[in-house]
């Protein structure tokens, strides 16, 4: 690890200013940043510590929705009664993520900006080719061990999964991030890799996430997050689904449905085709299974990850059927 300097910001503005220096990086919980610094992926010259900023850790839930400060801890949000009641999928996506120790340390802002777990990305001394780390150098993963790589949203340049769970739930319920006064829908926060996988979000230089907002909805209140993986806990998703459903007054017909997928795509993946095909219908097992397969439209296998194309629609279907009382 190289030497770096440490700067404790007294205000968001001060932090933003400090971030304009090349080599400056924001430090929140540090669970991604320090990890990547040890791997030699992140080489900060200055760490700008924002964990002492006041007012960025609040969690508030009312009839309109939730607002959560960027410094709220994953564990706090997962356990927050208001979040659990109005946004079960959001709370579950957090409690099923990482480990208790990490959840007690990691922040919501940092969580949204966690980096991929692509093994090739994480070992720069061994795999110099990685377009995400080093634009134009190539992609070591393609042709290698791709069990945990994406099948959706990939490009010739990069097939790395966006591994976070929270963002999947947020994408399903039209949440947004706030950078001071600028507000961006979570779905638009993340960029597809295309030819520039090093460019992961639309955040501008020096911009700091101050919080997130999740509008209240019936679908969000009646929601679940289903995460499937080999190990029961402390593993990223092989495939996951955030699903919320609002039924018509008859209690059967779907008025609104939200479906998003994790563990399979280069960004948190909203499956609008699945939603569209089920809106206005009465759920039944066959129709749900058929609709769920639409989530894999455009999916591309890279060998070891082909099972995801089979698995993910089953996860989506189970989550929908669970919320529809059919599983």
């Amino acid at each position: 690890m190289r030497d770096f300097s440490y700067f404790r910001a007294a205000s968001t503005e001060e932090a933003s200013r400090a971030m304009l220096d090349a080599g400056a990086m924001l430090l929140a919980g540090g669970t991604t940043l320090l990890d990547l610094a040890k791997c030699g992926v992140s080489e900060p010259d200055t760490l700008v510590d924002i964990t002492h900023l006041a007012g960025l850790g609040d969690i508030a839930v009312d009839a309109n929705g939730a607002t959560i400060g960027a410094l709220a801890k994953m564990g706090e949000v997962a356990d927050h009664p208001g979040v659990k009641a109005a946004f079960p999928a959001v709370a579950q996506s957090l409690s099923l993520a990482a480990s208790a120790q990490l959840r007690n340390m990691a922040t919501i802002g940092g969580n949204l900006l966690q980096r991929t777990r692509c093994s090739y990305f994480r070992e720069p001394g061994v795999f110099p080719a990685c377009n995400k780390r080093n634009p134009g150098s190539g992609c070591s993963a393609i042709g290698g061990v791709t069990r945990n790589h994406a099948v959706l949203g990939t490009s010739r340049a990069c097939i790395a999964v966006n591994p976070g769970d929270l963002a999947v739930a947020l994408v399903a319920f039209d949440a947004y991030v706030e950078m001071g006064r600028r507000r961006v829908a979570i779905e638009d926060l993340y960029m597809l890799p295309g030819e520039t996988p090093d460019w992961e979000t639309v955040l501008k230089n020096g911009e700091i996430i101050t919080g997130i907002g999740i509008p209240a909805s019936v679908a969000a209140k009646n929601s679940t997050y289903l995460k499937v993986r080999d190990r029961q806990s402390y593993e990223f998703a092989a495939a996951s689904a955030a699903v919320g459903i609002e039924f018509e007054a008859d209690g059967k017909t779907v008025r609104d449905i939200r479906v998003a997928l994790g563990g399979v795509a280069t960004k948190p993946w909203r499956a609008r085709a699945v939603e569209q095909s089920l809106i206005g219908t009465v759920l039944d097992v066959e129709a749900v299974e058929k609709a769920s397969r639409l989530s894999m439209e455009g999916a591309v296998s890279h060998g070891g990850n082909s099972y995801k194309i089979e698995l993910a629609p089953r996860v989506v279907a189970r989550a929908i059927l669970t919320m529809g009382g059919l599983a």
Partner: protein, 763 residues
């Protein structure tokens, strides 16, 4: 020699042998009071960081260390250019080529991740950063990356491992029912919670090494030979070990690098192998494949087993992961043939990982037996009992003790096996398919001599001193219990000193042989100390017992008295004071008379040349177990959860049920990892393990572990060891993976023959 009464399992919480006495080192470890090798406070310390190769095969053409050397704090960079002046050391059996130079940082690269340079700097951070600046250029050659590489070939037959009797091929051909299948296990790793590394310090020609060690004496010999100094000049210190599982029983190349660097620089050196580096700094379990053919009659009587196995090894050394190790032992079969091949590939030389050989071997055989049970339509428990081996067919010798039938029947009873329906996919719980499976295991009794020193001190306390080690299995505790029982003092009054090669000699903590060996030595030394104390008490002119006319005395509950209680009764301290002694010291070993000279000692404590196998005498001696496992498999996702385990063990007499049960559970948990999660993922383009960290190499978490019920069905086996125990540590994992694979088949109707059973194999 007195053999203590065997206590019934688990009926005593006291410190006597057989009692559920809690680990003496437990509190130190849980409170951070135990100092590990990399925490030794050594003054003037510098830090070494390894640079590992990034190609699988070829030559180091040049190492450009200029930038690294110029980096802040850097003292030296060692590369293949440097002759460190070392000699090749003996193998485990004490064989050693004469004066052959040893280059721990070689020019020839034989695997990806091989240490080829080391940077030494004032701080760990400086050394780490400078290590990144070392630029290595290679001349790459074609590599063979694993068993499946087309260039790997079928390997070289290891004649020593061929076992056979009868005419297996003919009997198989003639059998009514035949099954044939290939089973595979991947590279698996020890991943102990304490990573590897060492702190070394020279004082003139004397070397002290703080290094986690499963064998202080064996490793001291290695260092002495590397540096061509007398054995007595080396001291390996290893009081605590954060898990070894077979990986901490020898000095590795990085150990040599650290010690050589310390000598060259004239300063103590600490070298901490990083977690990713541990995946190639020493070997895990070799990948294996084996084909098993079983022939049987229609009513399930085995006629023939034909077994052909192979394991990978490195291109420069042989380590056979013997796939036929359990095959000849578990069942009665009139015709058998097993063979094992070694396939050299570009990997670090594999090593011993919990139950080497037996473990993959049992995966094959115990899967195949259940495949046969479905081919015949017979309950797999019944099939196993029908073919119960009443003696060892391989050696022709009777078993010393074999309570495997009891393990199977008691295990089945407790598990509720009779409620099973035989058809695959016939049991479910909502969307979860439920399956039950059995896997049997075995591990040989290995015997070795050891030595121990007992001190009775003036204050009546007792010291047990040995160079044996405790890596969590409980040596401290059972030795306190052993001495306490012989000397009639509470175990709390016994202080055990271990883990230092300058202390009395002990065999390796491996192959489940240490407990049997070292309790024997402690028992002998303690008995001698007791006899000496009683002798003094009866004869010393100042002893109050002198005139009692007694011809012996009893020691119990910390007091020494005349039998039947008429006469004086003193605490040990009072007696010691009366006879004016501040200590009684006895050192004993368990080597036979006539082979007990200094050379015999060195050979016994520092090599495995004198270790006796399970059939060295007139009997065949092994530990046995039967695992009963329930799994739930999600019918859509293919995720497997182990929901219940009942395992019954025959490990002879149990010295401390609490510790033995914990070892068994640990083995079972590792077996669950092996069955469902663990696999080194090799990128075949580079021959490199890419999941070389604990985020990606998955071992079970608490959430993956159900209630595990373990049962002891053993009886004392006094042929196996002085106190009647057989090995406990290794056998627990053997048979777990096949039990799970069998349960998965029962649940789903899908037979997974290559571990681990990850979800994509079931969807």
């Amino acid at each position: 020699m007195t053999i203590m009464e065997t206590r019934k399992h688990g009926d005593a919480a006291d410190g006597m042998v057989g009692g559920r006495f809690s680990r003496l080192d437990g509190k130190l470890k849980t409170t951070g009071g135990a100092t590990y090798a990399l925490e030794q406070p050594v003054k003037n310390l510098v830090h070494a960081v390894l640079v590992q190769s990034t190609i699988a095969a070829g030559r180091v053409v040049a190492v450009d260390a200029a930038k690294a050397k110029a980096a802040p704090g850097v003292l030296s960079v060692f590369t293949p250019e440097d002759d460190l002046g070392l000699l090749v050391a003996s193998d485990w059996f004490g064989n050693r080529p004469d004066n052959q130079p040893f280059h721990p940082l070689p020019r020839e690269v034989s695997f990806n991740g091989q240490a080829i340079a080391a940077v030494v700097a004032e701080t760990l951070e400086q050394a780490t950063e400078a290590a990144k600046l070392v630029k290595v250029s290679y001349e790459e050659t074609q590599s063979v990356t694993g068993l499946d590489d087309p260039d790997a070939g079928e390997g070289r037959l290891v004649d020593m491992l061929s076992v056979g009797w009868g005419d297996a091929e003919a009997a198989y051909a003639a059998a009514d029912i035949k099954i044939e299948a290939e089973y595979r296990t991947p590279r698996e790793y020890h991943v102990p919670i304490e990573p590897h590394g060492l702190t070394v310090k020279w004082e003139g020609d004397f070397l002290t090494v703080w290094e986690p060690s499963q064998w202080t004496h064996g490793m001291a010999r290695t260092y002495a030979e590397w540096f061509d100094i007398p054995y007595e000049n080396v001291r390996i210190v290893s009081p605590f070990i954060g898990g070894g599982f077979g990986s901490k029983a020898m000095g590795y190349t990085y150990s040599a690098v650290a010690a050589a660097a310390a000598r060259k620089l004239g300063r103590p050196v600490k070298l901490a192998v990083t977690r990713p580096q541990t995946f190639t700094a020493y070997g895990g379990r070799a990948a294996t494949r084996q084909t098993i053919r079983i022939g049987a009659t229609k009513d399930g009587v085995l006629q023939a087993i034909v077994h052909r196995g192979a394991s990978e090894t490195s291109v420069f050394a042989d380590f056979p992961e013997q796939t036929g190790a359990a095959t000849p032992l578990l069942y009665a079969v009139p015709n058998l043939s097993t063979q094992h091949r070694l396939v050299p590939v570009n990997t670090v030389t594999p090593g011993a990982l919990r139950a080497p050989g037996k473990n993959p071997s049992a995966f094959g055989l115990e899967s195949a037996i259940e495949e046969l049970s479905y081919a015949i339509g017979m309950d797999p428990l019944e099939l196993r009992l029908r073919n119960y081996a009443d003696h060892d067919y391989q050696s022709g010798k009777p078993w010393s003790t074999r309570q495997l039938r009891e393990a199977l029947t008691v295990g089945a009873e407790v598990f509720g096996w009779s409620r099973r329906s035989h058809e695959p996919r016939s049991m479910r719980d909502g969307r979860q398919l439920v399956g039950w499976g059995i896997g049997c295991g075995t591990f040989p009794v290995l015997k070795a001599a050891s030595e121990a020193l007992i001190r009775i001190l003036g204050d009546g306390s007792v010291e047990v001193v040995s160079g044996a080690i405790d890596m969590g299995q409980g040596t401290y505790t059972i030795l306190a219990q052993t001495a306490a029982e012989v000397l009639g003092v509470p175990a709390e009054q016994v202080d055990v000193k271990l883990g230092d090669s300058s202390l009395p000699g002990a065999t390796v903590a491996g192959g489940s042989m240490l407990a049997g060996a070292i309790t024997g030595a402690v028992h002998k030394a303690a008995t001698a100390a007791r006899d000496e104390l009683i002798g003094l008490a009866l004869n010393d002119s100042n002893s109050p017992f002198r005139d009692t006319g007694a011809n012996t005395l009893v020691i119990a509950d910390g007091r020494i008295s005349v039998p039947r209680g008429e006469g004086p009764s003193l605490t040990l301290a009072e007696l010691m004071s009366a006879i004016g002694r501040d200590r009684i010291e006895t050192q004993r070993n368990t080597l036979p008379e006539g082979a007990n000279g200094p050379e015999d000692h060195k050979r016994s404590w520092t090599t495995m040349a004198n270790v006796q196998g399970p059939t060295a005498g007139d009997l065949s001696m092994h530990s046995w177990c039967a695992h009963f496992v329930e799994v739930k498999v999600d019918e859509d996702f293919g995720t497997v959860r182990v929901s219940r385990v009942v395992s019954a063990f025959d490990c002879g007499r149990i010295y401390n049920p609490k510790l033995a049960e914990s070892q068994w559970r640990g083995g079972i948990i590792m077996g669950i990892g092996q069955a469902l999660l663990e696999e080194g993922l090799i990128d075949e383009r580079f021959g490199r393990v890419i999941n070389n960290n604990m985020g990606d190499y998955l071992v079970p978490t608490n959430a993956d572990i159900p209630h595990i019920q373990v049962i002891s069905v053993g009886i004392p086996d006094n042929d196996a060891s002085v106190l009647g125990g057989k090995g406990v540590g290794e056998v627990g994992i053997v048979g777990v993976a096949p039990a799970i694979a069998n349960a998965v088949f029962h649940a789903t109707g899908k037979r997974v023959r290559d571990l681990p059973i990850t979800l994509e194999k079931l969807i």
